[in-house]
């Protein structure tokens, strides 16, 4: 089931040059923005620029913009599982110990535990 009719894509040079320039500008920008402090947003700004650069490389240099469906799917799946890896690991790391702070009622737990005084009373009855 090979696709005999498709031809190699030859991308005009101007696309490559424009991408190259854009990448240099974005590199400059990512360094430049570190002069400003956005607080907790710093990392997101830096990552936003990095994602833009990465998209340019993927779409133009690696020609995904003109490529076959499956090659795109391969990239999407790799990034998807990468994202799951980060998200699920952080789901553990960032919420550790927080269940300790739960009040017994938060999760609608009917704790079988009685207050100490009651428990010791119970004890006397038992013996």
């Amino acid at each position: 089931m090979s696709d005999n009719h498709s031809h190699h894509i030859i991308v005009p040079v101007k696309y490559y040059v424009a991408t190259f320039v854009a990448l240099l500008v974005l590199t400059f920008l990512t360094v430049y923005v570190t002069r400003f402090d956005f607080g907790a947003l710093n990392i997101y700004v830096a990552m936003l620029i990095a994602v833009m650069k990465a998209s340019l490389v993927l779409l133009v240099f690696m020609a995904l913009a003109w490529d076959k469906g499956f090659n795109r799917i391969a990239v999407v799946f790799a990034l998807l599982f990468f994202g799951i890896f980060i998200a699920f690991t952080m789901a553990d790391i960032s919420t550790r110990g927080s269940v300790e702070e739960l009040e017994a009622g938060t999760h609608n737990i009917n704790s079988p535990v009685r207050p100490l005084s009651e428990s010791s009373k119970h004890n006397k009855v038992h013996h």
Partner: protein, 531 residues
């Protein structure tokens, strides 16, 4: 370029170089088959020895350290050298292109390279057995592994290298299934073994690199002490468990998916019936492959993982039970109104159905949070994964081996001894592992060298079972090897199968088919095939 000479692929070339440097997927598949069988024998030997030690509650033959090395090597050899490559690299390599109707896999040289990498990695593992065998358990948990004085680095390096063999095989199979299908072979005419191999390859490609980087970081941890896994240096040992199981849980499906593929082949051929619910069986393979990436945290329910993550992982774990159950139900219903023949491969199919159902149902116990707290790291877990891995994968591997043996070597084996050995393996297996469920739920922890006296009757029963199991395998080895020498010549289609491998000679010619058959109907369409 091939000429219709009537020569099969064995006769096409000779000499050891024609094997070791061959680009023919069939020869590579057979070399893998020999290699994984040797690994299985070695891992099995370790198992026999460690079960022997457990005959008594205290020391019998080995010291505690030797026992720990034995169960570690049993696990590492069985997982990395045997079960991961078992079906995909041997039977898969041989039959994937043939069932597809292709002349070879997409990248024959890469295929050979992955075999050479496998051998190279295997040598590292063997070296580590002789150079102070590793005693960390096959999971290499830190910080135990960073403190152990055994050969941790060479074993992990071996597993790291073996990982690349697995990745390259996966890349090769994906490209082959996408691009090498002949005219008429649409996605929904693929035999279900190929759907399973495709799903397996996806996991191999996307999960195995994480094992690679994890072991790489662990080697850095042991040699340089980079500290990310070592609590003494401020690292987090639970992070290692996350990394490790991100690979090693999907790896469980690298092991079982190809087995499920073989099951679909066996049930259709030996019932002479089209598969019930082709698309459900096919899609469930893909569903398993994807969900398998989302459940790794169920190995960490009591590890100090956060309770919220635990909830998430438990929920998703239950989801993966569904596609597995769908497959089992579909196979069962495929038998309905069929014409069932109880040849050896089909006996393995029945064994699989019996054992895998137990393995799957006990998996539900372990996925349930409150119950897992009690059962975690007990013999219940040991029994559960042996029911899935051995009762599932190994039974399917043996079923596939017997099913395709005539095609691969062109000789028939002894049907009588085949059935005897299948029966012994089935009985032996259940004797070894069924009592382990009871031991486990009664509280017997795993990886124990000494144990409480009260568990001895159960342990002894389990140990006796290993001898029956071992006998079954010895008989199998004897009659299969004997058939190579003096077996009856196999017909092209001994079982009446419909998939393409039965439309070529036994054994197949160098480029698989004298003329590539035309594909005009579904793979298991017994009506259109007009058999």
């Amino acid at each position: 370029m091939s000429t219709a000479t009537g020569k099969n692929f064995f006769e096409a070339a000779s000499g050891w170089k024609s094997w070791l440097f061959t680009l023919d997927h069939k020869r590579i598949g057979l070399m893998y088959l020999a290699a994984v069988c040797i690994a299985f024998g070695l891992g099995g030997l370790f198992a026999l020895l460690l079960r022997l030690e457990l005959l008594t509650p205290t020391q019998l033959l080995f010291s505690a350290k030797q026992y720990n090395q034995l169960f570690t090597l049993h696990g590492a050899v069985m997982v990395f050298l045997f079960i991961i490559p078992s079906i995909p690299a041997s039977l898969g390599n041989f039959f994937l292109p043939i069932q597809l109707g292709a002349k070879d896999v997409a990248f024959p040289r890469l295929n050979l390279a992955s075999f050479h990498i496998y051998i190279f990695g295997a040598l590292f593992c063997l070296y580590s057995i002789f150079a102070g065998a590793i005693d960390t358990g096959w999971t290499f948990y830190t910080p135990y592994s960073t403190q152990s004085d055994t050969s941790v680095i060479s074993m992990t390096l071996g597993a790291f290298i073996l990982g690349f063999s697995s990745i390259l095989t996966g890349v090769n199979f994906i490209a082959t299934i996408h691009k090498m299908r002949p005219k008429g072979m649409t996605w929904f005419r693929l035999p279900l073994f190929l759907w399973a191999m495709y799903a397996t390859s996806v996991i191999q490609v996307l999960a195995t690199p994480v094992l690679g980087i994890t072991l790489f970081l662990m080697i850095l941890e042991v040699s340089l002490g980079i500290g990310i896994f070592d609590p003494a240096l401020g690292g987090d040992p639970v992070l290692f468990q996350h990394f490790f199981w991100f690979y090693s849980h999907p790896a469980v499906y690298i092991m079982i998916l190809p087995a499920m593929g073989i099951m679909s082949e066996l049930v259709t051929t030996f019932c002479r019936k089209n598969i019930f619910g082709y698309s459900f069986v096919a899609y469930s393979s893909i569903a398993i492959a994807i969900i398998s990436f989302l459940v790794w945290g169920h190995h960490l329910f009591v590890s100090g993982q956060s309770e919220y993550a635990t909830m998430l992982f438990s929920l998703l774990t239950f989801l993966v039970a569904i596609p597995s159950a769908i497959k089992v139900f579909n196979w069962l219903v495929t038998m309905y109104k069929g014409s069932i023949s109880f040849d050896t491969p089909f006996l393995y199919f029945l064994s699989f159905m019996f054992l895998f159902s137990i393995g799957g149902l006990t998996g539900v116990f372990l996925g349930t949070l409150s119950i897992d707290v009690h059962l975690h790291d007990t013999y219940f877990v040991v029994a559960h994964f042996h029911y899935v891995m051995m009762g599932g994968t190994v039974m399917a591997f043996l079923g596939g081996l017997h099913y395709w043996w005539p095609k691969m070597v062109g000789k028939m084996y002894s049907e009588f001894w085949g059935r005897i050995s299948c029966l012994l393996v089935f009985i032996g297996f259940n004797s070894v592992f069924f009592v382990q469920f009871i031991m486990g739920s009664k509280g017997m922890p795993r990886r124990y060298y000494n144990y409480l006296d009260q568990f001895q009757p159960l342990h002894a029963f389990s140990t006796f079972g290993t001898w029956i199991l071992g006998l079954g395998f010895i008989i199998m080895a004897v009659y299969l090897l004997k058939s190579l020498k003096s077996g009856e010549k196999a017909p092209d289609n001994p079982w009446g199968g419909l998939t393409l491998e039965w439309k070529t000679t036994s054994p197949p010619p160098l480029e698989n088919f004298e003329t590539v058959p035309e594909i005009t109907h579904d793979p298991y369409d017994y009506e259109k095939a007009g058999l």
